[in-house]
């Protein structure tokens, strides 16, 4: 086990996923990537990441459902979840928190801001 924090990045958009991965790897984290909600859940159970960055709108399972499944499983029930949402409507954000997310950023977001939020989540006692 290394001390490098592991971040799971789940987004179906390859460019955006690579952008988030690039920023977080540049910051010294280890990153695993999932291309849809199903893979996100599987990788989260398998790798037990320290933070999950989760796109809301994904094929197979959406971000809400992924967050719910992570909360329901003992391997991942306390992992911090950061939602990437293209919807700024309050009701969508509220639904995200209901599903178990800890924080969110609205697209288009600043990679620097995302990095700061991930760092804050890692510092938070779980």
């Amino acid at each position: 086990m290394s001390d490098t924090p592991l971040i799971l990045v789940a987004d179906d958009d390859a460019d955006l996923r690579a952008l988030v991965a690039y920023r977080l790897e540049s910051a010294g984290y280890e990153v695993v990537q999932a291309v849809d909600g199903q893979q996100a859940v599987e990788l989260a159970f398998e790798r037990a990441p320290d933070v999950v960055v989760l796109d809301l709108m994904m094929p197979k399972l959406d971000g809400y459902e992924v967050a719910r499944r992570l909360r329901a499983d003992e391997r991942t029930h306390s992992v911090p979840v950061l939602l990437l949402t293209s919807r700024s409507q309050e009701r969508d954000v509220a639904a995200g928190f209901d599903a178990g997310a800890n924080d969110y950023v609205t697209k288009p977001f600043s990679p620097a801001e995302l990095q700061v939020r991930v760092r804050a989540m890692l510092a938070r006692p779980s």
Partner: protein, 395 residues
């Protein structure tokens, strides 16, 4: 032959499609149709009346008085006989009419002797069914009773058209919401990539040439502009759909005047900006949204006012309303353009010619926000003298 089943018209497929488009089959009773069958019994003096729709294999009652059941097979339907001829059918005594004498509805329940049905004819010329009256005794209708029954069938048809129109509007509204949600997601994801990658590049400008840096700045600026348009469009669609989340709170309107001036100061070096009026006037409204309106008006005023001019924001009470006015000494707007100002994407001729930046959505959004507060927004202007926007909201 015991009785004559109704003939199937040549245009039956089109007729059924027309019927389907009303979305009326198997829906619960509605007052407007129940009223019509009630009136029909009163006018014709019969114990029974139905508003019947003739489906492919059955007749179905949207409304019924004195009749049990939801409908009957089409074969035995009296009403279905009007579908082909498109004319009112009167059977004074079914026992003496070879088409109906041995019809199960005559021999058994509801023991029809008398029938009069006026067809429901659509705009496209199809008969959907009838409004009809029935009796267990032979009967003769006076001419004006038949005319009144025909009038009721026209009324029923109008109610059906109105109902269909409303359904269509609801469908369109749902489609619009869906479209907005789709645009929201489909545009924001590529925008997020553009913004994100540009931001990463902007941290590596040391290794770039001056030209590359300049071009990158252009990409960044236009990405931001595209994003602003998407945000504005979504806000406008949300507000126009009446789905804006308002968070009313009490505050002094004057604060918004001051804040709008402060945030536009950097664009107005050589202008005189002033907030005036009642600094204690309190309103209950969504502070952020109304602030957005005032900021938009002040920023417009600044853009269209030449150096040395003035922009004045004035707060006052007008009966039960609070009023905030933004007056400038700018170029003014020709009278012909004034009614168009609040339309989405309308840009004043002066703005286009002089390269004033903007999406053309600011005033449309301002109006939608003010409307959501049950207020009003108006403009007066004189070319060469200046323009005044007036926002009035209930206190």
């Amino acid at each position: 032959m015991p009785f004559t089943p109704p003939p199937i018209p040549e245009d039956e497929a089109e007729r059924l499609a027309d019927l389907q488009s009303y979305g009326i089959l198997d829906t619960p009773p509605e007052q407007v149709f129940d009223d019509l069958t009630l009136i029909a019994t009163a006018i014709c003096g019969t114990p029974m009346s139905t508003l019947t729709l003739v489906d492919g294999e059955r007749q179905w009652f949207k409304s019924r008085v004195g009749v049990d059941g939801e409908g009957d097979p089409r074969d035995v339907s009296f009403c279905a006989h009007t579908v082909g001829p498109r004319e009112t059918l009167v059977v004074e005594d079914a026992w003496r009419d070879s088409r109906f004498a041995e019809n199960p509805l005559v021999l058994g329940k509801p023991h029809i002797r008398f029938y009069a049905g006026s067809p429901l004819v659509t705009e496209r010329g199809h008969v959907l069914g009838t409004i009809c009256v029935l009796d267990r005794e032979p009967r003769r209708l006076r001419e004006e009773q038949v005319a009144a029954l025909d009038a009721l069938s026209r009324q029923a048809m109008q109610a059906l058209e109105y109902r269909r129109h409303n359904r269509r509007l609801l469908e369109l509204d749902a489609m619009k919401d869906e479209f907005v949600a789709l645009v929201s997601h489909e545009l924001r994801t590529p925008l997020a990539s553009i913004r994100g990658y540009v931001e990463e590049l902007l941290e590596q400008t040391d290794s770039m040439t001056e030209t590359q840096r300049r071009f990158l700045a252009v990409v960044a600026r236009n990405g931001a502009r595209l994003n602003a348009i998407v945000d504005d469009l979504l806000l406008l669609a949300t507000a126009q759909a009446g789905k804006l989340d308002l968070h009313p709170e009490q505050f002094a309107l004057f604060e918004l005047a001051q804040e709008a001036i402060e945030s536009n100061l950097h664009l107005a070096d050589s202008l005189e900006l002033e907030a005036a009026g009642d600094s204690r006037l309190v309103v209950e409204a969504d502070r952020t949204r109304i602030g957005q309106v005032v900021d938009n008006l002040v920023s417009n005023a600044v853009k269209f006012t030449a150096d040395g001019g003035a922009v004045r924001v004035c707060v006052s009470a007008d009966g039960e309303d609070a009023v905030i006015e933004v007056a400038d000494t700018g170029a003014g707007i020709p009278a012909a353009e004034l009614p168009l100002l609040f339309s989405p994407f309308y840009r004043a001729a002066g703005a286009t010619n002089n390269g004033v930046p903007g999406t053309g959505l600011g005033l449309a959004i301002s109006k939608a926000i003010v409307d959501a507060h049950a207020g009003s927004i108006s403009v007066t202007s004189e070319v060469g003298k200046g323009t005044t926007f007036r926002v009035s909201i209930p206190r």
